[in-house]
């Protein structure tokens, strides 16, 4: 069982494109439902006057929505395998503009992981100008893999160092404060035993995720568990963007694991 480079690239492009498409559709709808964020106020956080003035123009309704529409089209092109260096560069720049528009992040970690994916895409197309496309994609997929594995590793090990996670208490408390919460009175996650089991399960699984590089079958198992984990995170916390952003990194992990370097 291996994931060859051409298949990994296609899967990565399709999943990243889909993730960008989901985000773009949501951003487009925010205009109608957001009565709080206002660029006229937020611009004060941009330190340079010239940058501020340029952003003033970009964030006017027509250019801003034009940018989001273009982003959705480029995401589609990426899914169809039609995105080149120009598209990758545009998507990267638009990601930066969206980060600035939303004070550094709209949806936290999912924005960060999306940027990792887009940086990988840009790396692949930029490096391919100087060397073979295979080498360029090899570097790009490793870049995405290291970031994705780091995210699980860090998340697992910080939990391991916290007593409230080791006791299982944190899980129930966080679930109670989720956007779709609180937990029903008789939810199974209120059981201290189950909470303890789940906490240790998640902590060890996340902390040991880098072992995916040992064997592609192990990587597939860890990634499949991750799909279930991210779905639960969506189910309780509403974080749908996390689901797609992390899913888009799995082809990179499976490809790197297929190389059998460890």
């Amino acid at each position: 069982m291996t994931l060859e480079l051409p298949q990994a690239i296609r899967a990565f492009e399709i999943l990243l494109g889909w993730s960008l498409l989901v985000q773009s559709a949501e951003y487009l709808q925010l205009h109608a439902i957001d009565r709080v964020s206002q660029w006229r106020i937020q611009r004060a956080e941009v330190p340079h006057a010239r940058v501020r003035q340029a952003l003033d123009w970009i964030y006017q309704p027509i250019p801003y929505h034009g940018m989001l529409g273009l982003r959705a089209l480029l995401a589609l092109a990426l899914m169809l395998g039609l995105a080149g260096l120009g598209s990758a560069l545009l998507l990267f720049v638009m990601a930066l503009l969206l980060l600035l528009r939303w004070r550094g992040a709209f949806n936290g970690g999912s924005d960060f992981m999306t940027l990792v994916g887009l940086t990988g895409l840009l790396l692949a197309h930029a490096i391919a100008r100087f060397t073979s496309p295979d080498t360029a994609w090899h570097v790009a997929l490793w870049y995405v893999t290291v970031h994705s594995l780091s995210s699980y590793f860090v998340s697992g090990w910080v939990k391991l160092m916290r007593p409230e996670w080791r006791s299982g208490q944190a899980l129930t408390v966080f679930l109670d404060h989720g956007v779709y919460g609180p937990l029903p009175e008789h939810s199974i996650f209120r059981s201290p035993r189950l909470a303890l089991l789940c906490s240790w399960g998640f902590t060890l699984w996340e902390g040991l995720f880098p072992l995916a590089l040992l064997d592609v079958r192990l990587a597939a198992l860890l990634c499949a568990t991750a799909v279930a984990f991210h779905f639960m995170v969506f189910w309780f916390f509403g974080l749908n963007r996390f689901f797609w952003a992390w899913l888009s990194t799995f082809p990179a992990i499976l490809y790197c694991a297929s190389l059998g370097m460890l």
Partner: protein, 179 residues
């Protein structure tokens, strides 16, 4: 073991050691706006204090309502997996409240919190809550006990997750609502 493999092992070992050390906080406007380039990946890491926004409204007769919590609670739908703007907006606004709490904590002497962008945006959020704003179909304040408010006030309280009790971090002045 190849050199690349050794590098990977060394990287994760270094990461594990770094996580045990106390991390220095680096501030700066560009660093804040471009923090996506330096992700720390520490999600739901501990039960620290959590900021909560509460609002109250004053009616034309001068009577104040009770304080009402503004916290995202929305009904779940499976379709949200592919399209979830209202929930994501609600979560970003709760993050805004958390940012305000951080800004209050980090506020320099002589500085006025009202100059902070987070304060001004939370003021808009509180105003919207009092004026019947919604996250999609869900009102920001589920059961408001005011009808035609003429002024409002908000406060940010720090809740210790998993424990009882909270403490007030900030209370705004009374602000009029334009008709």
């Amino acid at each position: 073991m190849e050199f690349t493999a050794l590098l990977i092992v060394a990287y994760f070992a270094l990461l594990a050691v770094a996580l045990r050390k106390r991390q220095r906080k680096v501030n700066g406007p560009w660093l804040f706006l471009l923090r996506a380039f330096f992700p720390n990946w520490q999600f739901f890491h501990g039960l620290g204090p959590a900021a909560r926004l509460r609002v109250r409204a004053r009616s034309g007769t001068g009577q104040w309502s009770d304080w009402q919590l503004v916290y995202p609670r929305l009904p779940r739908q499976a379709a949200h997996l592919v399209h979830n703007p209202a929930v994501n907006l609600a979560l970003s606004q709760q993050n805004l409240v958390e940012h305000l709490a951080t800004d209050v904590h980090d506020l320099a002497e002589q500085a006025d919190i009202r100059d902070c962008v987070s304060y001004q945006l939370v003021t808009r959020l509180a105003r919207d809550a009092v004026q019947g704003g919604r996250w999609g179909d869900t009102p920001l304040v589920p059961q408001p006990d005011w009808s035609v408010p003429e002024a409002f006030q908000f406060e940010v309280r720090l809740l210790r997750l998993g424990q009882s009790g909270d403490e007030q971090l900030l209370q705004s002045p009374v602000m009029p609502l334009s008709p």
